[in-house]
Symmetry: C2
Subunit: 258 residues, 2 copies
Amino acid sequence: MPASAPLLLISNDDGIQAPGILSLIEVARQFGEVAVVAPDSAQSGMGHAISVGKPLRIFREQLPGGLTGYAVNGTPADCVKIATGVILDRRPDLILSGINHGSNASVSSIYSGTLSAAREGALQGIPAIGFSLCNYQHDADMHTAQEVATKLIAEALAQPLGPGQLLNVNVPDVHGDAFKGIRLTRQAVGRWVEEFDERTDPYGRKYYWLTGRFALMDEGEDTDEYALRQGYASVTPMMSDLTDYAHKTALADWDLSL
Amino acid sequence: MPASAPLLLISNDDGIQAPGILSLIEVARQFGEVAVVAPDSAQSGMGHAISVGKPLRIFREQLPGGLTGYAVNGTPADCVKIATGVILDRRPDLILSGINHGSNASVSSIYSGTLSAAREGALQGIPAIGFSLCNYQHDADMHTAQEVATKLIAEALAQPLGPGQLLNVNVPDVHGDAFKGIRLTRQAVGRWVEEFDERTDPYGRKYYWLTGRFALMDEGEDTDEYALRQGYASVTPMMSDLTDYAHKTALADWDLSL
């Protein structure tokens, strides 16, 4: 690999030994030098958590293909912080996260550890892409996701993503002719409708398992959810400026005088 | 309290016994019925984490003023989910989170557990406000923050915030004449510049403490950071649609064909 080869930093939230990250590493190695820094255990649903008040440790981890990765006892966002702050001796050109086992479309992007690793890169001014496959199984077929990742990494390097630009890529669990292609999308409006499974432990105390189902509240045909349901992979560009400018304008009516 | 009194759900990320939440409860009780559901321990930096694969438990907690609150062994987002899903018998009219011990302006909003409790309400379609004071100390003076909260809760109920509308309110650590008032703001562009404090444990293994300093990268006079530095409280309306529409338009140049 020439010294000028791009450096691709790879992380995830399912842990450094998950099949999804190994599939993403396999794709990324075609494009440049690969560094892998990922959680030492599953971190699903971690949102953009960081470890405050807990020391982090770094463990070398042998990965397929003779690659040495780094496992960290922290969150996905921690992994990107410690990668750029301690482990790497040059700045990554692109951060890749995933391939997540499970969708991060619509509002799931907000709860997603996969996206938080990518977003942490974006907050540092490094372009980043999060990849997720709409299949929770450990042995999910990663071929369509790998095809999508190959295409998008090539585009992200050829027409480079700008500093801090972030893409949320979701891939439907369809293969062969059932897979229709890639679409640019927006985040669908929807919400998780929570249900709690109430149980009683052997000591007579109640405890609750969080469950839930996703409710789509958006009839648009330009959303990530619509694309996925039609057999397309979705590419949603995401922001780190969370200001609601329209609401800000509307609030000019409020009396804020004290 | 009449049956028609608004129900205000209060949570935080510093834990149910933090002075900040007790200060917010004191203010909120003037406006309606108050329900308190908050983490049983400090949850700073939890981002929008949820507990996947871990059972939640609910503990009754006696609070000042004869109020009974509920402590939950989970994240701020978990607290709001279990409050609306299990604990409360009617839907809250407004969700309040805080008063956080420490600023959540600029990109800190993304790492913030305080904001995630409020955002979880917003995702459920309930209007929500997160309050943070720019002072990390346990014994910080909450008077200015209480004055700001009183004003904003009154406005949020009188000219009601719409379903899912979310405000990120930050209060400077100034009091008396030094406190200038309240301003509508946008999220300042900035980033945390990470530093890791490397140490060696008694067994010869390295470990790292995450530290860092905030770097403001925004000269605008309409930002939360600018307002705070001038002695104003900042009110930044926030979105849950993270789509970057401008970037989406720009990406139309990409070749996404397979």
